[in-house]
Each structure stands twice: as C-alpha cells, then as structure tokens.
C-alpha cells in the first residue's frame, strides 16, 4: 500500500509538469471533438496525430494519445444521445435510451449523467489499474477459448431474452447480424466467405458503416418523412440538472456499470464495446426503472456510459503489464512506444516507471479535465437540437462520409454506409430494431472464432465446454435464461413488464 502511494506520488510528479498537463489537455480536447463528430474515431485520429508526438518524450506522447482515447468515450455519447448516431461501437447502446430521453425533452439530463457516470467510472477504474493491474492480468489469462465462447453465448441469449417487442424479430435480427459478421476471410482456413469476389469485403463488412447507416442515416431518412416537429422538442430541452428521482435511479446503475466495465475491459478483444452491451443488459434486468426501458430510462444511459469509460481505462492493463494490445487503439499505442524506442512488454512497469505511473496519474487528471470540459458545454451541444433540419442533416451526412472514408481511405466504405442506411430505413418501417443486429454482428464472429479454436485445441471434443468451470457456469446461466423465456407464466410476466 505504501509502495503504491509512493509510486503514485512519483506518477503525479511526472504528470503534473506543465508540458504533460498541456498535452493531456490537448488530448482530451481532441478526443472530445472526434467523439462528437460521427464516424471519426480514435483509431484514425491517433494514426494521423502520431507524427506530432515524435518530437515529445515518450511519456508525454502516450499521455496525449491516451487522452484522445478516453476523451472520445466521453464525446461519443453526445451524438448518440442527441442525434441517434453512434460514432463508436461502445456508444451503440447509448442511443437506445439516450435518444429516447432526448425526444422526451431530457437531453440535458442524459448528457449530464453520461459525463458524471464516465467521470466516476474512469476514476475508479484508474485505481484498479494502479492497484491490481498485474493480478487482474492473470485472471484475464485464465480465460480460454471455451470460456470466451460461453461468455459470448450467454450475452447473445440474454440479449434475445430481454429484447423488447417481438422476440421472433429480435432473434431474427441477431441471426442476421451474425450472418453479416461472417463475411470476410475465415480465420481458421483463410477462405473467403460471402465476398463475391470483392476484395474490399475480404476483411469483412465495416462496423462503422453498419452502425452509421442503420442508426444515423436511417434516422435522417425517417425524419425527412415527418414534418419538422423540432420546435416542440427544442422548447422542452430545458434543464441540464437531474431531478432527485433521476439521480437516485442513476446512481446504482453507475456503480454496476463501473464494475462490469472494469472487468470486461481487461479481457483481450472485448474492451469498451462488450462492456457497454453487458451493462445495458444488466440494467434491463436489474434496475428499478426496467419497466421504462425503451421509453428513455436513465439507467440505460448511466450504466453503459460508465461501463465503456471504465473499460477504456482497464483495457490499458494488458498493454501495460503484458505488452499485448487488446484492441486497435492499443496496437497504435504499441507502435507509438516502439517509435519512441520503448519496447512494450512484461517488464515495462519496472523498466519505465515514469511512463507507467505518469500515465496512470494523467488518467485522473484527464478525467477531471474532461468533466470540466464537458459539463459546461452540454448546454451548447443541446442547442444543436435547435438547428433547423435543412442545415443539420446535410452537415451530419458530410461528417459521416468523411468519418467513414477516413477509416481506410476507401470510397467503398462510403457506398457501404449508404446501402445500410436504406436497409436500416426499411427495417424501421418493419419495426425491427437494429441494436440486436449490431450485437450479433460484434459477438457472432468472436464467438465463432473461439468456438472453432476451442474445438481445434480439443480435437473436436465438445466436452471441453462443460469441463472448464468458467465455461460451465456461463452455460448454466444461459440455459436458465432460456428456460425462463420458454416458461409461459414467466414470459407473460416479462411481456407485461416490458409493455408498461
């Protein structure tokens, strides 16, 4: 404990130099901005800004890049809530309740709780990184392919069980999402699946294209059908402050989201996306306001927003303790470190104490900065809702196009987005929700990969899924959820609860 405090003191001494504070602030500002702009994500931004950091010491460079990453998690909720446009995988679920809240005239409250929840979760997760990083790494390492598969199966089943409206439709959307996820190069054999000879499809359909098309562009087309009813919405934008009831409902959701997010963030490959999905499902099942889900429940914003920020901090753990990047952003951090002459690896904590502890201390400072940057600006963002459609929509479309193009500098991705925009429009006409599709799209391919790897390692013996304790307990919970869904009396209760 004493050692931890000494180390943290050292970290703050590093992070609080004028230069490091300035770059932390710069990173947070850029991160917020790209989070707000739909489509332009941290991966594209960090790769563009990488050369700027070459002239700085390694610690300063990483502090700034990390600021961009978690800053984007803060900013990403803004467009999700106001415009139904998830810029990041992790803010998909925020659209579900957040956008409904905005439509109910509670946009300000949704943004406030997103910022407060993110701050709380970020602070707690940073403590976790500092105190038990190495310990948590060994937990993550004990997850084998069979365990991952069962965890994801559980996720998919729970998302179907808890879907609102027709179970049949949501199961259909999950399956369609899984099918879309199969497009591309098969990991096990290198075979091209469903690519129809299009080389751009060999790495699969782009997530951002689907998310932006199905949510953002489809929403714009839908709104064009309706006469502009903005005056009503704008008049009700009102207070940024939470009511007493909202606050007491959101608090437990933030706490649960922080725990779920911190844990799922450590798992390689999962990160912020899995965390926000996980938290959303949990809130739907457990929170006091679960009956309100689908109509703008504040728990549905508070939980996932806390979870994705907690996860974005803890996803540094595999990088800092093992030298293994958990996602694309972390892979860029590895690149930045190597260019700086530092080999990320298991010995980094001992070999580079300045970097390790300085980065951790800067996360606290950065989270505080983000709160200060974001809270006063919420009023400004909410005013965005008063911009007339004829200016707002063309600008959104332009930003979307730029964002999608910047992913791999390829026009193909833009066409893809347009296509999914029309598909999303048709789906919403058919009253089919796009969220289960995205969950299937994200989880499906990971599930397949882990299933096949588990089978490959066990030489085709399916018992591996029940022999491992982690896997077996996940499967047991999944089976219980299935039975609960099939029992008629329980199902009636659920429909009633969801209909209210």
């Amino acid at each position: 404990m004493e050692l931890l405090l000494t180390n943290l003191g050292h970290g703050f001494a590093v992070a609080l130099t004028v230069n490091n504070i300035l770059f932390c602030l710069l990173g947070c500002l850029i991160g917020t901005a790209i989070g707000v702009l739909p489509g332009i994500g941290p991966v594209a931004t960090i790769s563009l800004l990488l050369p700027i950091t070459f002239g700085q010491p390694a610690t300063t460079a990483i502090i700034m890049l990390a600021g961009i990453y978690y800053g984007a998690q803060y900013g990403g909720s803004t467009t999700a809530i106001l415009l139904n446009l998830p810029g990041e995988v992790s803010s998909v679920v925020t659209t579900l309740e957040g956008y409904k809240m905005a439509r109910n005239g509670r946009a300000g409250a949704a943004l406030t709780i997103a910022a407060l929840g993110s701050f709380f979760a970020g602070t707690v997760a940073t403590v976790l990184v500092a105190a038990s990083g190495p310990l948590l790494t060994s937990v993550a390492l004990s997850f084998g392919p069979a365990d991952y598969f069962s965890l994801m199966l559980l996720g998919l089943i729970i998302s179907a069980v808890l879907a609102q409206g027709s179970v049949l439709k949501s199961v259909g959307m999950v399956v369609l999402g899984v099918a879309l996820g199969l497009v591309g190069t098969d990991v096990q054999t290198g075979q091209q699946r469903f690519t129809f000879g299009v080389p751009e499809l060999s790495d699969g359909v782009g997530f951002v294209s689907i998310a932006m098309g199905m949510f953002g562009i489809a929403e714009i087309i839908l709104n064009l059908e309706r006469p502009e009813q903005r005056s009503v919405l704008a008049a009700k934008v009102g207070s940024l402050f939470l009511t007493k009831e909202e606050f007491s409902r959101a608090t437990p959701a933030v706490l649960r989201g922080t725990v779920v997010g911190s844990l799922l963030g450590i798992l390689p490959g999962g990160g912020a996306a899995l965390a926000s999905f996980g938290s959303y499902m949990m809130e739907r099942k457990m929170s006091r306001g679960r009956a309100e889900f689908g109509n703008g429940a504040i728990e549905g914003v508070a939980g996932p927003e806390s979870a994705n920020n907690a996860a974005s901090q803890t996803s540094f753990i595999p990088l800092l303790t093992l030298g293994i990047p958990a996602n694309a952003v972390m892979a860029l951090m590895v690149g930045a470190l190597i260019i700086q002459g530092i080999q990320p690896g298991p010995r980094m904590v001992e070999a580079q104490p300045d970097l390790f502890w300085g980065l951790i201390a800067s996360m606290w400072i950065g989270n505080l900065m983000l709160l200060v940057i974001n809270l006063p600006m919420i009023g400004m963002w909410v005013k965005l809702l008063q911009v007339p459609y004829k200016y707002l929509y063309p600008s959104i479309l332009v930003f979307c196009a730029i964002g999608v193009y910047s992913l791999s500098n390829n026009v193909f991705d833009v066409y893809q987005t347009v296509l999914f925009g029309f598909v999303g429009y048709i789906f919403s006409k058919l009253k089919m929700e796009p969220a289960p599709l995205l969950i299937g799209f994200v989880l499906g391919p990971m599930m397949e990969e882990h299933l096949r790897r588990a089978m490959l390692l066990s030489r085709g013996d399916v018992m591996v899924f029940v022999e491992r304790p982690i896997s077996a307990s996940m499967l047991a919970i999944a089976a219980a959820a299935m039975i609960a869904m099939l029992l008629p009396s329980l199902r009636k209760g659920k429909d009633k609860a969801l209909a209210e």
């Binding site: 093992l322 990047p325 260019i339 002459g341 080999q343 010995r347």
Partner: protein, 330 residues
C-alpha cells in the same frame, strides 16, 4: 493485369486532380518530388509494416525536401493498398510499403479473380527497407527448450502438437507447414487473429508453441514471458545471440519477413536511383538503425535491380508452399 484500361486512366486522372487540389501546385513540375509523397501502408496502423514505414518516413521526407505522408489502406492480405499503388501515376509521388504478404504470399493465396496485379511486373521495386527473421517461442512451462524437445513432444502427441500463428496464410503459418515437412513431425496449426492474441494464448499456456515474427516476439523473449526455441535465420541474430538457429539444430528452416519500397510500373530511372540512394542513406543513420535493431530488423542494402530480383525470387519461393499448406483462399 486484369482491370480495364479505362478505369486505370480515370483513376489516374482523379488521383492527379486530387493531388493538385491537395497542395495547390502544378503536378507536372519537372523536379521530383514537387509535392508531398504518399506512402501507402497496406495494413492497419500499429502493425509492424506501419511501424517500419513511420520510422523511415520522417528521415526520408527531410532528405527529399517534401513530407512523406503515411496513408493506411488495409484489406485483402495487403492487396487493396498495393493495387491502389499499382494503378497510380508512375510519377514517384505514390509509393507502397511492399512486403512478404502483399508481394509474395497473398497473390498465391487469394482466388485468382480477386488478385488484380502482378507482384513483379505491375510495380517498380525500388529498395529493400528492412527484414527480420521469424522465431519460434514456447510457453515457459511446456517443457520445450529446443528442436529436439519439440520433436519429442510432437512425436509423443497422438494428434499432433499445437502451434499458434498470427493467422491462416501468414508467413508464420507457412513455416509451420514447412517445419512439419522438413522434420517429418505432426504439427497442428492453431490460427489467431493477429500476433497479439496468439502470444497471449502462448503466455497463458493454452497453446504450447508459436511461430512468430521477431518484432512482435522480441519484448516477450527479453522479458522472459516466453522461451525462444529457434530462430529462422541463416546465422544467429545479433540482437539475440543466445538463440540457436533451426539450421544449427539440423533443419534448414530460414524465413525473413521483409519490407520494401515500391512504386507503380514505369517509374523513371532517375527517380528510382535517387529514391534508392536516399532510403539507404536514411537506413544508415544511427537512430534508425538502433530502432530497427531493437525489434530485430536488419536494414536493407540492395540496389533497385537487386530488390526487383529479390521480390521475384520470394514470389516464386512461396507459391508452392502456399499450395502445400492447404490455405489457398476461395
């Protein structure tokens, strides 16, 4: 080349126009380079190819008097970005970070109708930038310390010994196929999505062995989280003199992953000569040498003609191995 001539011309014109728009200067000026150079990295940012490119981009830009801008165009085993350069105007302002995937393996791996360039004829190969060997590493508790123990374990395992790689069809996967053939043992390939997840599985002991490229394995070998079994190089590697080669241990398994600089076919000879000289000058600087050495990369010294021969040999070497691996896509 399989694409229609019309498309090429139109793309060329568009590229030219956007280049003019980008810098606002005439694109037809005589002196080269007259505008920023786009260096296409055919993989996502953060990988080894991206890193190698970024390490030379700055020095190269300073020497040429125009910035060298990295542009990542990933996809189709590095073929999307390479095809883009094959179709670009041969004016020396659009180059690609060519590599063992884009110019030696992917063209044989992918179905013929998706391969839209000839790895040798559709490019002007300018300079070999760096190359590094592959290395085999084992889980610390797996009891595998060298080729002999590896062989013993593989013989004892009734259904083959598991070996992880960064992906199906990668050079490291093909090495597993080659070692199984050369040593006459049964190896069971377990592909992952990238070197990171594969290394995690080896550290955790889910898979006992991995065939990896030195840059992604170097820190783990130095940090002691995995044990190096054998290096796939002709001589012992200067940064890892304690790791014996496969050749010393009785199996002739040598594989370098390489990264080079290439442009579209028909690049003027003067530009090729100047670019080759400047790349080698940058590679000779102490800073760049040190950075490459850290992850086990040896700077390239070939002239343009030598590099062109090298690419052709690599392409010819890997085509039959790809077929033998059964990893042919499509």
């Amino acid at each position: 080349m399989r694409f229609k001539a019309g498309t090429v011309r139109r793309r060329g014109v568009i590229a030219g126009l956007s280049a003019i728009a980008m810098v606002g200067a005439p694109a037809f000026a005589q002196a080269w380079p007259s505008q920023p150079i786009r260096l296409i990295v055919p993989f996502a940012p953060g990988g080894t190819t991206d890193l190698v490119a970024r390490l030379i981009a700055q020095g190269l830009g300073e020497r040429l008097g125009q910035p060298v801008i990295i542009e990542n165009r990933a996809g189709a085993g590095a073929m999307v970005g390479s095809e883009f350069v094959a179709r670009a105007a041969p004016d020396g302002h659009t180059l690609v970070m060519s590599n063992i995937a884009s110019h030696a393996i992917s063209p044989s791996l992918y179905p013929a109708n998706t391969v839209r360039y000839d790895a040798v004829r559709d490019f002007t190969h300018v300079a070999l930038v760096t190359s590094n060997p592959s290395v085999w590493v084992a889980h610390r508790g797996a009891g595998i310390t060298d080729l002999a123990t590896l062989r013993a374990r593989a013989t004892a395992a009734p259904q083959g010994l598991d070996v992880a790689s960064s992906g199906a069809g990668s050079s490291n996967h093909l090495l597993i196929v080659q070692l199984a053939q050369l040593a006459g043992i049964d190896l069971h390939h377990v592909p992952f999505r990238g070197a990171g997840p594969a290394m995690t599985a080896v550290i955790a002991g889910q898979v006992p062995l991995m065939s990896d490229s030195l840059p992604s394995a170097a820190a783990h070998i130095r940090g002691g989280s995995v044990r190096a079994i054998a290096m796939c190089s002709a001589e012992r590697h200067p940064s890892f003199p304690e790791v014996a080669t496969f050749r010393e241990q009785g199996v002739d398994l040598v594989c370098d992953s390489w990264f080079g600089l290439s442009g579209p076919a028909g690049l003027p000879a003067a530009i090729v000569a100047k670019l080759n000289a400047e790349v080698r000058a940058v590679l000779a600087t102490a800073d760049v040498r040190a950075r490459y050495a850290e992850f086990g990369g040896t700077p390239g010294t070939l002239d343009a003609a030598g590099f062109t021969r090298f690419v052709a040999e690599e392409f010819a070497r890997w085509a039959p191995v790809v077929r033998a691996s059964g990893a042919e896509a499509g």
